[in-house]
Subunit: 288 residues, 2 copies
Amino acid sequence: MNGEAGAEGAAGFDPAGLLRVGEGFRLADVDPNSAPGFDGGKDEGAQLLASADDALSELQEKLFAQSRFGATDSVLLVLQAMDTAGKGGIVRHVIGSVDPQGVKHRAFKAPTIEERARGFLWRIEQALPPDGIIGVFDRSHYEEVLIHRVRGLSPLAEVEQRYAMINEFEAKVAASGTRIIKVMLHISKEEQEKRLKERLDRPDKYWKYNPGDVDDRAFWDEYQHAYQLVFERTSTEVAPWYVVPADRKWYARIAVQQLLIGTLAAIDPQWPKATFDVESEKRRLEES
Amino acid sequence: MNGEAGAEGAAGFDPAGLLRVGEGFRLADVDPNSAPGFDGGKDEGAQLLASADDALSELQEKLFAQSRFGATDSVLLVLQAMDTAGKGGIVRHVIGSVDPQGVKHRAFKAPTIEERARGFLWRIEQALPPDGIIGVFDRSHYEEVLIHRVRGLSPLAEVEQRYAMINEFEAKVAASGTRIIKVMLHISKEEQEKRLKERLDRPDKYWKYNPGDVDDRAFWDEYQHAYQLVFERTSTEVAPWYVVPADRKWYARIAVQQLLIGTLAAIDPQWPKATFDVESEKRRLEES
């Protein structure tokens, strides 16, 4: 079950199977305010987030350690969402608990002219995590079939070709040892309004506000449809999509944390064995 | 006072002036087991570390925010040390409290042939933090005047030329808006022995043990001398060195944390003002 996440959810919370996009998935059927698989509320969620930090950290350190001795496994977490859905909060509160040495984070903005000239997957390939590293993409190549479709930034015929190109690319990445977890944080239009309103109410949040976000709200349904197409066409065995209800931030965080833990547990990284004679090194050290 | 750190140490702890390398500095006079400027012990240190997280995080977020609106300030923390001195712990426990989106971490190993062909500062320049980002170098261009001098990896005449090249390079980096903090974590040979021994006693630490570390202990005095030369020749107004006693890990962490806080406070980053009309955006949002 390559790429399968959630094998060992803490405290019995194992959302991978519940959130994974499968046959017949319909985004419209997912309630952004739900908390699949989790019985507790906000406080229990915060407790789980804190208590699972150690498991995530140890798995990450093992992943990193074994890569120093030739293991080629790595992990790539792709985050996609409508604005304000909480990508930044996932990075801060889930990825933030992991040793910065073991993380490669990349936020993708609109490509530069130079980047575009090289094909839309070129800069993605450059940003892939090296062996032993957890890569995090805040937005990704999926913008090329989301905003490009909705806002007509590329001819539709080109957009249509990209799904297959993406699948081919991701299959190659997975074959090289990178487990791919693709997450869409799913918020409601109402929750987005609340969060945008908060940015307008707080001067320390103005910098996060972009008038274009309100423009995009007029295309809400078109975006949901574009996401639906993404799920139908690019949720594969080696690079599955997970749709994470995100109106409750605490739920989205524990869900993504468990997806990461499950993926790392499936890799089952091991502390490298000594490549030296421990006893003779102890003697050498004493004499040094 | 460009590059001055420690202007606003929390709880009155302001180690910058005490640790900064100035005229007549002698590494041999610094006790690796000391805790300059801090009256408390390990517990108080841990408390300070935790309580100062918020100040560091808020300053970092402001630094990042203002860069989205054109500010060009950034920070570069350079970490150098003998093996086991705790560079990794600084990254994990000090930098680890900062939003991963705002950090660019780079560990430098021996350069590849391709890198070397471009000159020793080329890959350093590639790794500099973009505007608004805190860059962290785990080892750096200083290896070129440390191990290269001690182990004769380059002809001495070449090593001798590098100090001036480094100063010129760092002056250019500083002039572009990057505050440079250079930290040497200073441990004793005895403390290193203890830490290496621990790596040999614990199978989950074997991967961090390198027999070459014991070889290097035979060159301890030569390394200390090479550091002394580094301090004499490259501690400048715009890129000062700080020697941080590191036999007590907790002290090194709070000291580096305060150096960062002080440097960020001196930049005094500001929340960007709204570039839109707040009231009309609120109306647009309500109607969307």
